[in-house]
Amino acid sequence: MYSVTAKNLTKTYRTRVKQPGLRAAFRALVRPEYREVQAVRGIDLQVEQGQRLAFIGPNGAGKSTTIKMMTGILSPTSGALSVLGLSPMENRRELSRHIGTVFGQKSQLWFHLPAADSFKLLGAIYDIDSPTLEKRTARLRDQFGLGDFFNTPVRRLSLGQRIRCEVAASLIHEPELLFLDEPTIGLDVVVKRELRERILEMNREKGVTVFLTSHDAGDIENICQRAVVIDGGGIVLDESVEGLRTKHMTVKKLTVRYAGEYCAATPAWARRFSCAPGCVVCEIDTRRIGAEEALGHLLSLGSVTDISVEDPTMEQIIASIFEKERA
């Protein structure tokens, strides 16, 4: 059973070409020139029910446009799209009862009113009867720890408190599919961790499918099972997050500390090699030399007091994928 099915999904915008200069501006009045911009080019995607998917890509890659088509905000130029078995454009209102959305840049809470009031209004918007609304509000308030500030006007909340309210509010109608667009933007590490835990909890307990876009590698690593990388409007990689690690984590950083002041020349098998008194930092490509073999070389150089082996961060992995694609 799939929550999202997209076949050859395309979105093309027609934009006016503006040439510089006054003469060009007058010419454009009489004979305007247009060009077509393909924001999304033939995306094929299937997301299983209950799956946690990261939809990642650089700015302008087509992530938000794709999400907006999936939620019924924008209509696709061509291709087939089904979300929870419904066509987002034809069944927008019906679909909105089954999906939740959090756009980090846009708020669905009333700025001057307490979050509690926004929850009541959302209850009326989604036709939730009063006893059910009270029960769900109480559960979400506990789950997201909103108790202390639930009755404080939203304008007085910190960003972290507001985002927690936003995510909780997006779950008030118990959606089957949750779209999260940059949910942790601007949050500190503690709030980010709490929010990720809550999202995982919702997925575990209610089987909510999570469709996440984020520039934060921590979100992808900690929340998602599968990563779809998009660039230039098309999918360039569709891989499990674990696969992303093993297949693209070919670089390792080895740090070895020696008892004496030791320094060596750069060996041929190292990608990068730097020497400080009593310490060697070395980067290797595991396709050229295994970590064990490289460590063997480094250990034989002197009396070792400490060793550390580091994997690249998810951020570095994603950056290297984008670099490869663009090259």
């Binding site: 915008y13 938000s64 907006k68 939620t71 019924g72 905000i73 924008l74 209509s75 927008r92 209102r93 019906e94 909105s96 009862r97 999906i99 959305t101 756009f103 840049q105 846009k106 708020s107 669905q108 809470l109 009333w110 700025f111 001057h112 009113l113 009031d117 009541k120 209004l121 009326a124 918007i125 989604y126 036709d127 006007p153």
Partner: protein
């Protein structure tokens, strides 16, 4: 229907609570608008005095009705549909997303999600003025009809002008003029306009259906026929505004601005 009324009631309650967060600003805006409207009537009073008590077949009491109906219709429409004058800006900034993500009529949700501070002053002015104008029972009923159905016609006119944004890309000019265009002709006696202008007032800028037709009803001129015409006009303009907005909505292109709901 029950759910729709419940939602409309909620919007009203929370919008009112929201503007009451800034009590001083609210009362000041409403009072300023009240006195601003009163000034116009003062000048009309002076003019009627100089013209011997009648202009274009209307006396001062008729003018009080026109001003009361116009202010109350404008006030009510901007209290209930406070976002009416922000449609252009909302679309240009790509802020309709929030409403498109809800299982509700986009236009009604957008319009009802805000309340105008100063519109309370307009409504209060209209009510006070009709009480002072010495209208009979029929006059009061005609005023109430004007306030509700005239408010619908006025809202629809502004909505149509603002919704041209979908087709023009940015209709700031029309949007800025929309309120003046719709309201200006409602504050003058119908009799001063030539026939061709009156035709425009019926159909292009439907000022007639905001105040002048209700005035005829108040005066008892073919009242049942005009009541029916007024109701039909309100339904027609509301339907056309709804259709026009949703037609334009298909061209909506969204955006990525940082947005807060005020």
């Amino acid at each position: 229907m029950k759910h729709k009324l419940r939602l409309a009631g909620m919007y009203f309650r929370f919008n009112l609570a929201s503007i009451l967060e800034y009590r001083a600003s609210f009362f000041l805006s409403a009072a300023t608008m009240f006195f601003n409207n009163a000034t116009f009537l003062f000048f009309w009073g002076v003019l009627f005095d100089r013209m011997g008590g009648s202009i274009g077949g209307y006396d001062f009491r008729d003018l009080m009705f026109i001003w009361a109906a116009s202010s109350a219709a404008f006030g009510l429409s901007n209290i209930v549909f406070g976002n009416l004058t922000n449609i252009n800006e909302t679309v240009v900034r790509g802020e309709l997303d929030t409403y498109l993500l809800q299982p509700r009529n986009v236009l009604l949700s957008l319009l009802m999600s805000r309340m105008s501070f100063s519109a309370w002053g307009d409504l209060a002015y209209g009510v006070v003025l009709i009480c002072l104008s010495g209208q009979g029972f029929r006059g009061i009923l005609a005023f109430l009809l004007a306030m509700v159905t005239g408010g619908v016609v006025l809202s629809s006119t502004i909505c149509i002008l603002q919704s041209t944004v979908f087709f023009l890309g940015d209709a700031s000019f029309l949007a800025n003029m929309s309120t003046n265009l719709a309201v200006n002709f409602t504050t003058y006696p119908e009799g001063i306009f030539p026939k061709a202008v009156r035709f425009l007032l019926y159909w292009l800028i439907p000022a007639q259906f905001i105040v002048h037709v209700p005035l005829r009803i108040a005066r008892g001129i073919h009242a049942p026929v005009w009541v029916a015409a007024q109701l039909l006009a309100a339904a027609f303009f509301a339907g056309f505004a709804m259709w026009f907005f949703h037609r334009g909505l298909k061209k909506y292109e969204s955006g990525n601005m940082l947005v807060t709901r005020l």
